[in-house]
């Protein structure tokens, strides 16, 4: 471990960031941190990544990560066993296959209507969508102009639960998809379902 590696010193900037991160209860963007410490965003981001890497290299029980557009402390997964006993909210219920698939469609197609999501899966997904909304993973995002159907999109909580910085970090879907999906889109749009 760090005993024989000359460790990068904890600079004043790093320490200031550590202090602030200790009082936040939701992810805080680097830009906001930069404002408070009055330093360029680049410096702040470099310091945050530096801290994060050092925590990992030192094998600390916590980890600093950028998730859902902001930085915050997390416990390291290796210690999930002992931490679980202290976490009040307890375990999340596992999502069903239906919920996972619908969530995937919403994630890549947002904003998307229930009808469209149902068409992709070949299964009505009204109930599943309600569950996803109730779980806070998906939220309403206005209505389709032509049909008035509710549209849905993923939430920041979705990013948090998946440990993603933003939607751009979603795994690329295109390798799995047929080439002519664009035209398919058009047809399904008209037909609503197959």
């Amino acid at each position: 471990m760090s005993a024989d590696v000359p460790e990068e010193p904890v600079t004043d900037l790093r320490a200031a960031l550590e202090a602030i991160l200790m009082v936040i209860d939701e992810p805080v963007p680097a830009t906001m941190l930069a404002q408070v410490v009055e330093r360029p965003v680049d410096d702040v981001e470099r310091a945050l990544w530096g801290l994060s890497e050092a925590y990992t290299a030192d094998g600390r029980g916590f980890d600093l990560r950028e998730v859902a557009g902001g930085w915050r402390y997390y416990t390291r997964d290796a210690y999930a066993g002992v931490v679980e006993r202290f976490v009040r909210d307890g375990q999340e219920v596992k999502l069903t296959q239906a919920a996972l698939e619908t969530l995937a469609v919403v994630a890549y197609r947002q904003p998307v209507s229930r009808a469209r999501a149902s068409a992709v899966r070949g299964v009505n997904c009204d109930g599943v969508m309600r569950t996803l909304v109730l779980r806070g993973l998906v939220e309403e995002a206005g209505a389709e102009p032509e049909t008035g159907a509710h549209l849905y999109r993923t939430t920041g909580y979705f990013l948090e639960r998946l440990g993603l910085r933003d939607l751009d970090e979603l795994p690329d879907l295109s390798p799995f998809l047929p080439d002519d999906l664009e035209s398919l889109e058009e047809t399904t749009g008209d037909q609503t379902r197959f």
Binding site: M22, V23, I24, D25, E26, F62, D63, R65, V67, R72, Y73, Y74, T75, R76, D77, A80, V83, V87, Q91, E92, K94, L95, Q97, A98, L100, E101, L103, A104, V105, A107, Y108, R114, A115, S118, V120, R121, G122, V123, N124, D126, G127, E160, R161, L162, G163, L164, P171, L173, F176, L177, P178, D180, L181, L184, T187, T188, Q191, T192, R193, F194
Partner: protein, 302 residues
């Protein structure tokens, strides 16, 4: 090309046709135990999931050949599960089944005999089915990536700890921005359910084609023509969905003896003859159209 479809239907006991089997009364004698091979595949998330499951079971790639090889199992699955399903589920499966049967039929036909227009329609239907199958497969794969990430992420806990009191005191005053009356109004809105709990699912998805309506159209036409081929009867259909609805309507009319079928060869042209009353109102149940089942039930099958 619907000849095969009818054959599949009539070769087995006709009341077991999935949509009819959705009637509560028909559940008992349904095809679950009707011999042949059984499909040990449970809980499929719709027709695409089932197709992928069957193809994977046979260790096949997604090709036209593999589709035709699993068609029978697909139909068997529908027959086995039909009674437990609602119309909405069934119709999704039926639409895929229709395409599968068409494809299988086309593979059996000497290719030269297929007329151009139908051929083209079939190719389109096939491509669409492939595209949707692949699309669904992509989302399914990504869903399993999601599951992995969720599981991994559930082992990491974010720090969500209230601020030390000395800092919490410094938080600026909260701005509610509304007065007591507005607050109460908002509370009332929150407590009022957005949609009455009793209504929900049934009418959200309106079927694109209504079987009873299609039956009216068919009856109208057959009263005039007396006799027509199925191909002629569906020539003006707007899409697959309507063709299927019209086919279901014909079966309903067959049940009430309003029409008779004739088919010279198993895959030959299907002729429909009007045998019903020229004056009386058409008796077609609305159990395909998502209404509460059980009102106009008549189990007097021919």
């Amino acid at each position: 090309m619907f000849g095969l479809r009818l054959e599949t239907v009539t070769d087995t006991a006709s009341p077991d046709l999935p949509p009819t089997a959705a009637e509560p009364g028909a559940a008992g004698d349904s095809g679950a135990g009707s011999g042949g091979f059984e499909v040990h595949l449970d809980n499929f998330e719709g027709p695409f999931d089932l197709l992928l499951g069957l193809i994977a079971k046979h260790k096949l790639d997604i090709t036209e050949v593999s589709l035709s090889r699993v068609t029978d199992e697909f139909i068997a699955y529908i027959k086995a599960n039909g009674p437990a399903w609602d119309l909405d589920q069934t119709s999704h499966f039926l639409l895929v089944a229709a395409t599968l049967l068409d494809l299988k039929a086309a593979r059996l036909l000497p290719s030269a005999e297929v007329e151009d227009e139908e051929d083209l329609a079939l190719l389109e239907a096939r491509d669409l089915l492939f595209a949707r199958l692949l699309q669904y497969k992509a989302y399914k794969e990504v869903a399993s990536v999601f599951a992995g990430r969720l599981a991994e992420e559930s082992r990491r806990f974010p720090r969500i700890v209230p601020m030390e009191p000395k800092f919490a005191e410094l938080l600026p005053d909260v701005l509610l921005g509304i007065g007591p009356d507005q607050f109460a109004r908002m509370a009332a809105r929150v407590f009022t359910p957005r949609e009455p709990p009793a209504v929900e699912v049934t009418h959200i998805h309106q079927p694109l084609a209504n079987v009873r309506e299609q039956a009216e159209i068919l009856a109208d036409r057959l009263r005039g023509l007396g006799r027509a081929t199925f191909r002629v009867l569906v020539a003006d259909c707007a899409g697959n969905y309507e063709v299927v609805a019209r086919f279901l309507a014909l079966l309903e009319m067959y049940r009430t003896a309003a029409v008779a079928f004739e088919q010279d060869a198993p895959l030959g042209e299907l002729h429909v003859t009007w045998t019903g009353d020229d004056e009386a109102e058409l008796d077609v149940g609305d159990d395909y159209d998502g209404g509460p089942a059980g009102e106009t039930k008549e189990d007097d099958d021919t």
